[in-house]
Subunit: 419 residues, 2 copies
């Protein structure tokens, strides 16, 4: 086993070869990797079978499904890499240009970060998705996947190495951390000087560990306690459709809603119909009904469990919805300021003044008027891809696309200027 | 004494009052602060006299001068605040806008960070400069100055409080940390959830302590081991003028050069004339001569101390210059990659291919062709101001102006869209 430090040294040393490559060479590289993933289908499937065999007793059927690769899924992974090749190149863009009175021409130009590292869990498709985005952005990539997917990830990275070599690039541009203990995550967090950006993608515990321990630049992703506030003037039918979608279309993801705040003036009209739609109608159709966690006022309108102490601070990621009734928009704003994780919040209203006040006052990556929070996503925002959703304010906020995976430098042309 | 935690809670609670203020109200606030600084002249001078009295035995004359305030300096401080008011407002700018096929209108809008904190040393003018920039950018500011300037800083912050109150804003928008022990710096570094951006400005030791300990988003500033590479084709007269300026115009600042790399083909023509200019001519004019730290090859051309083990990794901030002779541009690039702190580097050349290779390959915040590294500065770059010079790659790189003190959010307008 190579140590994580050794891997980081090699990756850092390899990075300049890619940083200076032309867009055409980078795209040829990505197509070479896509071909190689297809050519390695058999070995990737065999490795995946070993992972599944080892995980069968430990993981539930949903997690096993997330872990499982098939010929169709490998083809989709390869296609994803080809789609990244087709995106506009984020490197070498002139972001600004000024000519100063002394004749200096100062250009601000987008350049690669250098080495990007990611710590992530289960799904092996993330391995090639992330590597493809980093390479397109001109950066080397160090991957530290979940231990359940280790054999699958290793086989995918082997295919990527093959693709790198065939395109004339050093294989060390994409590295998989070999140490499967928790120590290797800590090694990445503390590798100052070797990692230009660390992205933790996974549980709240992982994100917290990064905040606590990271000595390298780090972007927190993903934790989403998303609120929807139904204002006094909300269109009830539209509100029901949006809340249903935000809660039940995919409750396990970070842009799913967790908390509904309802203005007292529409609580009587909205909440009983919401209960009918999210509980009774779903039950009748054989779907998992939504469980409520109600504050005392919401409980006056619909049946359900009373909210406990932490229910307004929990990312349920499940068919559970916390509901509170508020007296005013201001009370909703105060609640959100106290409990939000800064991911996505929405107001449902027909009142433009309320919409304006809400979008200005809510300090989150994405703030919606009359739409589902589920749209916070690189593809839905038109970025063409996504490396994660930042919930911090520095460098990147919300969905991170290729631009957010670059930095810039100033290139200054003179003819003898001194100060 | 109020605890640092208590101060942070109050500042965070005050921040939204400013974040939502109009550009006009923010500018009126800054003018009110400028007036108040003038009105408090007597109390600021009295406090400054106490600081100087206490520091007289501990600090040398240069540091005492940096610490000293006069009526003229206070007027300049107030004028600096007025100049910040006159800059364009960085908040509320539409950075991008797309209408998606489903009708969602997604706007990316610049917004305030929230709470900015700064840890800095000596010069009391930084106190009001930094506060003015933060307020203009819509953020509250927590200041932790050097203990030598504590009374001066406290008097300046009292004047700022007066200006805040007269303009109808809560004084807690600008806070001075009261605990003067090292613990308060650590308290700021670890105040996750209370500080959106921490800027350490000062010694390399302070920056290192932030990298080691910070649990809040942090931008490293200032350490500059700046290189100039004199290529084989450099114009010798121009090279001499640029090197002289970069080394001697103000050696104590981070954009001053520390290391000269000379192509072997011009070493014989350049180095003796450089020694004449930086040593003999300066001595003849009664100026401090530059001391050399020479590698073995440079020592064949000029007299001077041989470079020790660390001389190519030292930010001298003094009339000292490390000099090495290299065989090629590639050797210069390799040296810079190994020893640079990523601040500013320059190539002196008449060869466009060499200039292009250098500006692409050098991974620093500012890369110059035929100009002095001393231009890396917010004012010189046309930003109108500067909060420090970032040597990291995330969020801000090089001089940080008002734009770099903001973040953004996505505001999404829908009419019932679900996913």
């Amino acid at each position: 086993m190579r140590s994580t430090q050794e891997i980081l040294r090699e990756t850092k040393a390899a990075a300049p070869a890619l940083a200076l490559a032309s867009p055409e060479r980078k795209n040829a590289l990505l197509l070479s990797i896509a071909d190689s993933l297809m050519a390695h289908e058999a070995s990737i499937l065999a490795a995946n079978a070993r992972d599944i065999e080892a995980a069968r007793e430990k993981l539930g059927p949903v997690m096993i499904d997330r872990l499982t690769l098939t010929p169709a899924r490998i083809a989709a992974i390869a296609e994803g890499v080809r789609e990244v090749a087709a995106l506009p190149d984020p490197v070498g863009k002139e972001l600004s240009r000024v000519t100063r009175p002394n004749g200096l021409v100062i250009r601000k130009v987008s350049v690669p970060l250098g080495v990007i590292a990611m710590i992530y869990e289960s799904r092996p498709n993330v391995t090639s998705d992330a590597a493809a985005l980093a390479l397109k952005a001109g950066s080397a990539m160090v991957l530290r996947g979940g231990k359940e997917a280790f054999a699958s990830n290793a086989a995918i990275v082997e295919a990527i190495h093959d693709g790198l070599q065939k395109a004339g690039f050093p294989p060390a541009l994409v590295s998989l951390v070999e140490d499967r203990t928790r120590q290797s995550a800590m090694d990445l967090m503390t590798a100052a000087g070797f990692i230009d950006l660390l992205i933790p993608r996974g549980s709240a515990g992982l994100i917290r560990a990064c905040v606590e321990n990271a000595k390298v630049p780090c972007i927190q992703t993903g934790t989403g306690i998303c609120h929807i506030y139904a204002d006094a003037s909300a269109d009830i039918d539209q509100a029901l459709a949006i809340i249903d979608n935000a809660k039940t279309s995919r409750p396990s993801v970070c842009n799913a809603m967790e908390v509904l705040l309802v203005h007292r003036d529409i609580a009587a009209a909205l909440l009983p119909r919401l209960k009918e739609r999210l509980v009774d109608a779903r039950q009748a159709r054989g779907l998992t009904p939504v469980e409520f966690r109600l504050d005392a006022r919401a409980a006056q309108y619909i049946p359900g469990k009373l909210a406990g102490k932490n229910d307004f601070d929990t990312e349920f990621l499940d068919y559970i919805l916390a509901v509170a009734v508020v007296d005013s928009l201001e009370e909703a704003l105060a609640h959100i300021a106290r409990h939000s994780t800064g991911h996505s919040e929405a107001i449902l209203t027909r009142d433009e003044t309320a919409a304006e006040r809400f979008t200005r006052a809510v300090d989150s990556a994405a703030v919606y008027v009359n739409a589902s929070t589920r749209f916070t996503d690189g593809g839905e925002f038109g970025l063409g891809c996504e490396m994660g959703i930042s919930t911090q304010k520095l460098h990147a906020r919300g969905p991170m696309g290729l631009e957010e995976l670059t930095t810039y430098k100033y290139v200054v042309m003179g003819n003898g200027q001194v100060r």
